[in-house]
Amino acid sequence: MNHLLEAWELLIQADTWTGPTGMGARAWEHLLYTVLAVGVSALIALPAGLAVGHFGRGRNLAVLSTGAVRALPTLGVLTLVGLVVGVGLMAPMVALIILAVPSILAGTYSGAESVDPRVVDAARAQGMSRWQILFAVQIPLGLPLIIGGIRLAVLQVVGTAMLAAYVGAGGLGAPLFLGLRTYDYPLLLAASLVVIALAVLLDIAFGTVQRTARRLMRGPA
């Protein structure tokens, strides 16, 4: 428990947070990595997931690839790409995107599919075009699940982005690995606690967004 106290003392010192390699700058980097990786993953997975959910084709492929990618160890992908492209941000980004795509993909196609088929049928009968059905019916009504997929991806990426520092990038993994190499347990713990706090905060934020979406899309009960 002493380590925990020391970590806490470290965290409440202003020095810990300032400077180009301070915890503040690392946390900011960490957040940027997360946003970048989830953003790129969303660009890939959202259209693909909507296509699967809307046309109802390619579903088996999506399910299968989601499961297969889950078996792929992120650390393995990270070091593999790291060996090929060298140290830097490229390898962690590839690894994090591979990690995030399946979650967003699964959330998106289940969101689009979750819409009551009778509602979709009625929209079609009224003369909505495919795009109108997608944007006015399936996306808004599937939004809670779509956001849920993104939420899961954010959680996975925030945690795993720690590994970025293993191949020479920054983020909160940097103080963590520094602490690990130098047996500086308080630093190690402090970095871990910051990541945990970041993850929990993001989770709460996304949870709130998701609940709001759910309420809006069902109408006030």
Partner: protein, 293 residues
Amino acid sequence: MGIEFRHVEKTYPDGAQAVRDISFTVPSHTTTVLLGSSGCGKTTLLRMVNRMVDPTGGQLLIDGEDIAGAEPVRLRRSIGYVMQHSGLLPHRRVIDNVATGLRLNGAARGPARSQAEELLELVGLDPALGRRYPDQLSGGQQQRVGVARGLAGDPNILLMDEPFGAVDPLVRLELQQQMKRLQTELRKTVLLVTHDIEEALSLGDQIILLRPGGEIAQAGTAQELLSAPADDFVARFLGVAQGRRRLRTSAGQDGEWVVTDAEGRPLGVVEAPPGPVHPRADPSGSVPPEDGR
């Protein structure tokens, strides 16, 4: 004129034949009912009219024009559609649900909403309900909204797929009556699908009775079907064979006419005696069902 089915067929890719060689016409400004039990292809036929389903054979004409050449989305926007489960968009207010069709046809938000309010009133709903979400309405109210939505944009044709099938009997009766009142006023060309014989007899100017396998068993008015069933299937389906719809009158205790079914169970009394009927002299004296209720 109206809607004309010419030798229409539908065979699905797996070989299942939903309807075979169907020909009939829905005359303009009248109501035609497609009647049959589930799986007889009646909904398939209905959905061909707005090209939700395309026939694999034959032709379908609206006002003399083959709709195979019509752009499906535009065709659907010109035809009203009411379905069993209202199919309302749960995330939009009732008023916007009714206005959807108008907005799709290019109406501005303001005019579309005020038209939608008028439509709500037309189907017997308080326009104030328009501010609610569909889940906040009762089943019957949702169904009325469904009808209002179908009528939005004043389409000539109204397709109704079991429109009152999911509500309780009392509400159903109310909705059917409302529908009749509306139809005398609006005179749409209505094609309605139902498995409910009462509904068919009550709403249909013409009834097309389908048999399992997607063939027409008999087409005609309610009176024609009841008085001259084409075959055993029709007679059994309508209940004529079992005597459910073969009604008799007999003299009651106080001299009024009591209507009974074939087994002698009393169903009601005749308010205005249909002329000088002598039950003993005319033992088969059947009364048209409309009067018998």
